[in-house]
Symmetry: C2
């Protein structure tokens, strides 16, 4: 069965952006540091329409995360912060469901269509599952949607890309989970000498 | 030269205790889950005067962390929460410096002497360095002392024991660092199929 997954880069003090993320600052002060590991990967460059880059375990890992994905769910905050840098050809090339309070018609940009969902995370994931068919649904962004999905038992797997830096502020990973233990099972650890990638399955 | 080190078990949502840690609840609701990986290790049992237990990479890792240590620095919160469970023979068997606001005479318990330091973290680390001689100084506890040491450039290495669980509340790891990037270098990753142990060196 298709899975709901989440990939996120996180600092050692638990932040998924730097302080003061915004449409102007994007990922906040220093937040780009969290994604530096991506920029030279061949698979990342390919997603963004560029050639070249490094092939290897990290490039394969990223490719694997995206190749089985048929639809994406993100929050309003990520959409607002990233709409401008994405430009006219966002890197998804598939339907993207944006959880928001604002009703809005679908927005087509290149091969990506953004659908705006005002009925919450659960509904957005259901719509994304329909759109993805047998493929996986990937949650994107800084953590609010993923946190709600994890709390509601709707997340099947996630992968932390643990970046060896502290940022001192920003959007926290998994902020506001319920005060009970949710058990995970690590299914793969990739040690690159820099970022450590750990994939977890949510115990059901 | 002797190093200042920190070892800490942390949940995937960034907590080093469960919610509501206190002298009555110890590590807070569910907080013991973070230390479960320790209890069956041969080296842990030995530190606590017990026999048996599992030998292997995790037991070696713990032994390595403690064998080069000559003094410990902890915060008042850890001391208050753990004094009772430690009983008359705390597991340190070396001088322990407690950062506190309360003046108090040294307290001897078994082979451990607690010294109470009212002049802050920097002074406590300096005293611990003197006491440790050529051995390392280990910071213990839930993160306040380690955070201050990291921010002040006094921490040389730390090791995260990343436990595959979320807790939804508690004392956060590295809460309140300055809003600037502190770069770390991972020097070892140990994947056990459960807890992932990552050791970092602080870039100077």
């Amino acid at each position: 069965m298709a899975k709901v997954t989440y990939d996120v880069s996180v600092s050692l003090d638990g932040f998924t952006t730097g302080p003061n993320d915004s449409p102007e600052l994007g990922l906040g002060e220093g937040g780009e540091r969290l994604h530096e590991w991506l920029f030279d990967l061949a698979s990342w460059r390919e997603m963004h329409g560029r050639e070249g880059g490094e092939r290897g375990p990290e490039s394969d890992l990223l490719e694997e995360s995206f190749s089985g994905t048929g639809a994406v769910v993100i929050g309003k905050r990520m959409f607002a912060n990233a709409e401008r840098p994405w430009g006219e050809e966002p890197p998804f090339h598939m339907p993207v469901f944006v959880v928001t309070h604002e009703e809005r018609r679908p927005l087509e940009k290149g091969e990506t269509t953004f659908h705006f969902v005002t009925e919450g995370v659960e509904r957005a994931i259901a719509l994304a599952r329909d759109a993805a068919g047998e493929d996986d649904v990937a949650i994107g962004g800084g953590s609010s949607v993923a946190t709600q999905a994890l709390a509601a038992g709707l997340l099947d797997e996630f992968q932390l890309h643990i970046v060896p830096v502290t940022l001192g502020g920003g959007v926290r990973l998994f902020e506001g989970l319920p005060e009970r233990q949710i058990e995970l099972e690590p299914t793969r650890v990739l040690d690159t000498g820099g970022v450590t990638h750990i994939r977890y399955r949510v115990a059901k």
